[in-house]
């Protein structure tokens, strides 16, 4: 059923974005394959890497999302002092540079960490974080915040009419879950699982550092090694294809389970009061535990970095400028891509699948492929800013679409009939119906895009030249130059800027109630 003819320009814009994304993914992989020698094959070690990759990603995804559900529910229905700040801060681990986050986690779970101090006081034997469980803990630390935010947004979109009806019918916790919450979760959980699974699929430094040895080799590491250690482009491409196939399979499988988001409708009323008693107590426990798990390592990162921030050397501040420039460009690109694919995705499915594609591709392959493509025509170093911004935008696009597209489809399901009946044109529909309902998720999406771009240490490493360093690069370099203190300071600066960028954009675009 088509409500109204879409403007031609919109379709073209979506097609253009699609072309860029396809060129970025397939083009980069194609370039690597083109440069490869023939006769690559995967060995037993590669299949072991594939197995480890899938198992750790699966465990991380399931655990992150499972734990996120009670936290999101608690945050959705409780109002308390500092709630907004807590939600923002709890999102921080997701944008933390990997190395910094690992240091924070080790300060809690490491050999001399707080956790072992505690078990020592209780007379228990110390725990060792290195191994599969360490990798999963770290991935949950990174991805629980994202899962909470995605589910929280969905919770906030449960039509108040449903809750009022539930309350009027005297629903208990079980009935409420079965009739109101479970259908909503069925819509959001597969998507959240897919996103976290795909993030963990390309995990590299976390898996190796906390995995404890070559058992914990992921496919991304194998790709990196094929490039760097064996200079075997054919094997790298083959591994990248395997990784992409796993990612694509996960996406397709989860898409099968996702219910279409048009089945419920409501009209933006206020919700009834949340249940008290036991539920209230449980919510409190959920929020406290999640906050402890996420904020204690964060607090330790802040404590380690704080004494060094003011004394940071000039190159770090210059790098901050470069990072902000790239992030700004990246956010603009992300906004264009998200808008085009969301609007085109209201009535068809391909924009959504395409938008997820960037998470399937290996960052290492994209970077190397772009290098191969650009090098014959131009000096790649001159392209560092543009390429990094574009790749960052493409990498943030799946998160942006996850946040914006379901909201857009809900708004369309709820109000399209009314809007058509009133004879609104496309522009008026966009301004009066879609925008007010999309600005909150859009603010979240672009804020996230900015933060991710600021913290990214991906393709820039392949392209950057003296003078074009970004802040994450400088953190890395400080660590490489024994300057652990300054590195901690620079990492804290990065965290503060990324978080500030996130909050500012979210408020600016999302309006003042943006964090719901």
């Amino acid at each position: 059923m088509r409500w109204r003819a879409e403007p031609r320009a919109l379709i073209w814009a979506a097609v253009f974005v699609a072309a860029v994304l396809i060129a970025l993914n397939l083009g980069a992989l194609g370039a690597v394959v083109w440069r490869a020698e023939r006769g690559a094959a995967l060995g037993a070690a590669d299949w072991a890497a594939a197995r480890f990759t899938v198992i750790q990603a699966l465990m991380s995804a399931v655990l992150s999302v499972l734990l996120a559900v009670p936290v999101a529910r608690a945050l959705a229905r409780r109002r308390f002092w500092g709630r907004g700040v807590l939600i923002v801060l709890m999102g921080a681990p997701f944008i933390l540079p990997v190395l910094t986050a690992i240091v924070g986690l080790l300060a809690v779970f490491g050999r001399n960490g707080l956790f072992n101090d505690l078990t020592g006081l209780l007379g228990l034997p110390p725990i060792r974080i290195y191994g599969m469980h360490g990798v999963v803990i770290a991935h949950v630390f990174f991805n629980l915040p994202l899962s909470v935010r995605l589910i929280l947004q969905s919770w906030a979109r449960i039509p108040a009419e449903h809750q009022r009806l539930g309350a009027a019918l005297g629903f208990g916790a079980v009935a409420r879950f079965r009739h109101i919450e479970a259908p909503m979760l069925a819509r959001v959980v597969p998507g959240a699982l897919a996103v976290v699974f795909l993030i963990c699929l390309t995990s590299f430094a976390v898996a190796l550092t906390l995995g404890g040895g070559p058992r914990a080799t992921t496919l991304e590491l194998a790709i990196y090694q094929a490039f760097r250690f064996d200079f075997d482009l054919g094997r790298a491409a083959l591994l990248a294809l395997l990784q992409a196939a796993i990612g694509a399979t996960a996406l397709v499988l989860l898409a099968q389970f996702t219910l279409p988001d048009g089945a419920v409708s409501g009209l933006d009323r206020t919700a009834p009061a949340p249940p008290g008693g036991m539920a209230r107590w449980l919510d409190g426990v959920s929020i406290t535990l999640a906050a402890l798990f996420l904020l204690v390592p964060l607090a330790l990162v802040v404590a380690r970095g704080a004494p060094h921030v003011w004394g940071l050397p000039a190159p770090v501040w210059l790098a901050l400028g470069q990072s902000l420039k790239i992030a700004a460009l990246s956010v603009v690109l992300l906004a264009v891509m998200t808008a085009a694919l969301t609007l085109a995705g209201l009535q068809r499915r391909w924009p959504e699948g395409l938008g997820m594609a960037a998470l399937v591709a290996s960052p290492m392959v994209i970077g190397t492929g772009l290098f191969i493509v650009i090098h014959p025509v131009a000096d790649p170093t001159g392209w560092a800013t543009a390429v990094t911004a574009l790749v960052n935008a493409a990498m943030a696009l799946p998160f942006a679409l996850r946040a914006v597209l379901p909201a857009a489809r809900r708004a369309e399901a709820d109000f399209a009939r009314l809007s058509v009946a009133l004879g609104l044109g496309w522009r008026a529909h966009l301004r009066l119906v879609l925008w007010p309902r999309l600005r909150r998720p859009a603010g979240f999406a672009l804020g996230l895009g900015a933060a991710l771009s600021l913290g990214d240490l991906g393709v820039i490493v392949l392209f950057a030249q003296t003078g074009g360093e970004t802040l994450p690069m400088q953190v890395q370099r400080l660590m490489g130059a024994y300057r652990t203190g300054d590195a901690a300071g620079a990492a804290l600066l990065l965290l503060v800027v990324a978080l500030a960028g996130f909050v500012v954009l979210e408020r600016l675009i999302g309006g003042k109630n943006a964090d719901v």
């Binding site: 379709i11 073209w12 097609v15 253009f16 699609a18 072309a19 860029v20 396809i22 060129a23 440069r35 190395l99 690992i102 240091v103 300060a107 490491g110 050999r111 001399n112 290195y130 590299f204 430094a205 190796l208 550092t209 906390l210 995995g211 404890g212 040895g213 070559p214 058992r215 590491l221 090694q225 760097r228 250690f229 200079f231 050397p313 190159p315 190397t368 290098f371 191969i372 650009i374 090098h375 025509v377 131009a378 000096d379 170093t381 001159g382 392209w383 490493v461 392949l462 030249q465 003296t466 690069m473 890395q476 370099r477 400080l478 660590m479 490489g480 130059a481 024994y482 300057r483 652990t484």
Partner: protein, 343 residues
């Protein structure tokens, strides 16, 4: 009707992107003629870092050469070689700086390098004759410990295996020191290397992707010792005034890392490149190395080594596999390592 239009649009859009990219790159490439000649040096990331030797060396060379010295960086030594293989003869670099003896066999085989034609007197613990590559610094791999935390350090791999100490090492597949340790144990123990790795496995807390992660974990107290260089304590002593860090001497001897540079055969500035290679073993370059790269200079500067370097461990036995041996033993040594640690 929708899908054909989609396909057409896709083609047009891709064409547009290509045209845009090509135009822009041509525009960017147009250079003004009166610029000084440019010498491009491809090196590893920590060399060009603001805390590495790069900035001081750039300044010193530009003062004499009447040229513009541009450093491009690519991760570490191995990533640099990969970059070079990727760009092949089209590489815009004139000089490559920062390969080590584990990489020079592959680099020579690529046929991309030209002889440097220099034979300066070098202060290396081993004799050096390589027509393509000239050393600029070197160092011994060693385990570093904090003497306050672990006063009793083991004196050999065997003692380390028998101890209850924890070490953190780097992955040989993604890190230069990691590969150095692989070669160290291979050079010291030959066919017994696999058994040594099996003995070491329980002592290894974790294997990190690179040097900085490992060193960071060690400083955080996650491990008693870390694989690094005999010169690492010099940083803590000179830059931080902390005399508590020390490298541990192993009776098996210590494996050597020699970092070298070479001229690319396709350089469009061969004279400038040769001038840079000569400059590389001069005082102006070499005196920067000890306190920025924290390695031994290939030619000891006239003023000697900085104060504090005399306190460092100087191993009695130096181990180093030839470039050919290192290349041919690498894959077998790696499987021994993987088999021992994957248990």
């Amino acid at each position: 009707m929708r899908s054909p239009r989609f396909a057409t649009g896709m083609c047009v859009a891709t064409a547009l992107v290509t045209v845009f990219v090509t135009t822009l790159s041509t525009a960017l490439h147009a250079q003004t003629p009166d610029q000084p000649p440019e010498l491009r040096v491809l090196t590893y990331d920590s060399f060009v870092s603001d805390w590495g030797p790069g900035p001081a060396i750039e300044q010193a060379f530009e003062a004499t050469c009447g040229c513009d010295l541009v450093f491009t960086s690519a991760g570490d030594g191995a990533a640099m070689l990969a970059r070079l293989m990727l760009t092949g003869a089209r590489s815009e670099a004139d000089v490559v700086l920062g390969l080590d003896t584990n990489l020079t066999a592959a680099a020579s085989a690529s046929g991309l390098f030209a002889p440097h034609g220099l034979s300066p007197a070098l202060d290396l613990p081993v004799a050096w004759e390589d027509p393509l590559f000239l050393p600029f610094d070197w160092g011994w791999f060693a385990f570093v410990h904090d003497t306050r935390r672990t006063p009793n350090a083991p004196g050999s791999f065997v003692e380390l295996i028998a101890s209850d100490l924890n070490i953190v090492i780097q992955d040989p597949r993604s890190s230069t020191p990691g590969l150095g340790l692989l070669m160290w144990i291979k050079a010291a123990y030959g066919d017994e290397a696999g058994a040594i790795w099996q003995g070491l496995a329980p002592r290894i807390v974790t294997v990190t992707p690179g040097w900085s992660e490992a060193y960071g974990l060690f400083l955080e107290g996650e491990a008693d010792m870390v694989l690094s260089y005999t010169t690492s304590p010099a940083y803590h002593l000179i830059a931080e005034d902390t005399p508590d860090f020390a490298a541990v001497g192993f009776v098996e001897g210590h494996y050597l890392q020699v970092e070298v540079a070479g001229i690319l055969a396709n350089s469009d500035q061969p004279d400038l490149a040769a001038q840079f290679m000569e400059f590389m073993t001069s005082d102006a370059f070499q005196s920067v190395i000890p306190v920025t790269n924290w390695m031994y200079p290939a030619v000891t500067p006239a003023d000697g080594l900085p104060e504090g370097f005399e306190t460092l461990l100087r191993p009695e036995t130096t181990l180093l596999l030839s470039a050919e041996d290192a290349a041919s033993l690498r894959d077998a040594a790696l499987s021994e390592w993987r088999d021992a640690l994957a248990r």
